[in-house]
């Protein structure tokens, strides 16, 4: 029983996934209940996480393969929130798709449980299992649509994802051979004790691991799937992929590199790899996004650039002493801010494209006159993605750039700020299209209730994190400190 209590938040989500299938089989006339079963499971999961915060009694589970610390619990909240927003945003679309409603929600919940396990894994084996538990449902979801674009996106995503996990596994196998353990604490000890012997093997192993996770984080040069999959997959699924899979990958990479391969070990080498990848990703994503005419492809390229921004925090890993946690807490806060912001943008896109039946940016002309609420929220999210106050994105960028300056990486910050200027051009370009241009037709419309709720929550989150970032910043700082406690 104690074991189940320790994985309670994940357990609640998995139970809801099973329950959704049971409801579908037992009460076929009550299919409308299924999304609410999913939401109830997520609510239970959040309640369970809150109980762990209240108990403040953090510990490891299952022989040290999983750990329940502030870091993991912070991400439990983020992932449960993401899943709830995606479930709400999916209701309309899934009903229209008209098949396998229970399976859709069960897959979303299963991969959410996978994200949660990823955030709490402290062992290479459990990291791998959790990664696949979250990935395989996403492959199916990306191919969920009936049209040929969706199945093509699903197959592409799966083939590239499977190659990436094979590369990751090879890196893990070499890491196991080098350190003779799969447990992150043991890896840290072995790497520290190993000194310079077998150093080339270690660097090869870590490069392969970064490549494998780089695919999930969608950073250059492992980004080629992003625009295709975002464009082809159903929009609610694209929203889910863009925040969930990226957030979980950053959660696990931060833990892996700060706990297993952290300071005093080899951090200077990784820090340079991360810095270069971050700079290239920001530049590539922003430059490619300028020329896009399809809003989903644009958000795909913008998410590559945002991954580069988050990675600036990882590059700050080499900061010594007390400030060591700055980079990690920057990553954590950025992931939370990015989750709200990008979900808001995607949900607005879902609502607009359901109405106008197009993803072309040119068709968003004059949206301000047709649906002020939708245009307003989308503009707010775009402002936050650019990083302009008073939004969540501003504090997130400030925080990671600050950590990079402390790590003596002023050049990276300069590249980051220049990139923010480039991104302002296309983010605010969409806003200008919506507010200034003349609409093709005048008919006004409102989004459906479920979409309005999730849109309202996302917008409130973006503003709340922007106006009063203090509580979440300190929670992120506490979470990052539990990573540093290992030393």
């Amino acid at each position: 029983m104690n074991g189940i209590d320790l994985v309670g938040p994940q357990f609640a989500v998995l139970i809801a996934a099973g329950l959704a299938l049971v409801v579908d089989a037992v009460l076929p006339r009550q299919r409308r209940l299924i999304p609410f079963v999913a939401l109830a499971g997520l609510a239970l999961s959040v309640a369970w996480s809150i109980s762990w915060v209240a108990r403040d009694d953090y510990q490891t589970a299952f022989g040290g393969t999983l750990v329940l610390d502030r870091y993991a619990v912070f991400f439990y909240f983020v992932f449960a929130g993401i899943a709830a927003a995606v479930v709400l945003a999916s209701i309309e679309w899934v009903e229209r798709a008209g098949r396998g409603q229970a399976e859709y929600y069960a897959l979303v919940l299963a991969s959410t449980a996978g994200f949660m396990f990823l955030a709490s894994s402290r062992d290479l084996i459990s990291i791998f299992i959790a990664l696949e538990l979250s990935s395989i449902p996403q492959y199916i979801l990306a191919g969920w649509g009936k049209d040929e674009r969706s199945s093509e996106a699903g197959l592409k995503y799966l083939l590239l994802g499977a190659i990436a996990s094979a590369v990751l596994l090879y890196g893990m196998a070499l890491l196991y051979g080098f350190t003779r353990t799969t447990e992150l604490g043991g890896i840290a000890d072995a790497v520290a004790a190993g000194g310079d012997a077998n150093r080339s093997l270690l660097i090869l192993a870590v490069a392969l691991v970064i490549a494998g996770f780089g695919f999930k984080m969608a950073v250059v040069p492992f980004q080629m799937w992003v625009p295709d999959v975002y464009q082809g997959a159903p929009t609610p699924v694209a929203a889910y992929l863009s925040v969930g899979s990226k957030g979980a990958a950053f959660a696990v990479v931060t833990r892996l590199f700060f706990e297993g391969l952290g300071p005093g070990v080899a951090s200077d080498d990784w820090s340079m790899i991360f810095a270069v990848v971050a700079a290239v990703s920001m530049t590539f994503g922003n430059v490619m996004a300028i020329a896009q005419t399809d809003i989903k492809r644009l958000l795909g390229y913008s998410s590559i650039a945002q991954a580069g921004n988050i990675m600036v925090g990882l590059a700050a890993i080499s900061v010594a002493g007390e400030e060591f946690v700055l980079g990690a807490s920057g990553v954590i806060f950025f992931v939370a801010a990015y989750a709200f912001t990008n979900l808001g943008a995607f949900i607005a896109v879902i609502a607009i494209s359901q109405r106008i039946g197009s993803d072309r940016i040119a068709d968003y002309a004059g949206m301000w006159k047709r649906s002020p609420a939708l245009a307003g929220v989308l503009a707010l999210c775009l402002v936050s993605l650019t990083g302009i106050p008073p939004t969540a994105g501003f504090w997130a960028k400030l925080y990671v750039f600050n950590s990079a300056i402390r790590a003596d990486m002023a050049w990276l910050v300069i590249i980051g700020v220049l990139n923010s200027l480039v991104s302002a051009y296309y983010y605010l370009g969409i806003a200008k299209t919506m507010f200034v241009a003349q609409p093709a037709e005048e008919a006004t419309f409102r989004p459906p209730l479920t979409l309005s709720i999730s849109l309202g929550v996302a917008a409130a989150g973006v503003l709340a994190l922007g106006l009063i970032p203090g509580p979440v910043l300190s929670a992120a700082h506490d979470a990052a400190e539990t990573l540093a406690l290992v030393y």
Partner: protein, 104 residues
Amino acid sequence: MTPGLEHFLTVGAILFCLGLTIALSKRNAIGVLMGIEIMLNAVNLTLLSFARFGVGHGPVTGQAFVVFIITVAAAEAAVALALAVSVYRNRDTIDVDKMNLLRS
């Protein structure tokens, strides 16, 4: 001469590179899948040889890892074949070079 750790590792590395080459160059989706399976089996061989020669007879972590990889690979292959069938029904081909609907 009895084969040692480095021989097994060399075979594993060669297999991995072969698998990666196949996965990246094959045009048929099933061929790509076969390349991925070869890569995963190269990983298994590497893990097992480390477990046998490097760590010795202790905890069976390496072997346990391999069992998990085999299981997950089976699940992944099942989903991949289902998606391949779905693409084939829509397009009458599973040639990955012809999957070019997704362009701006």
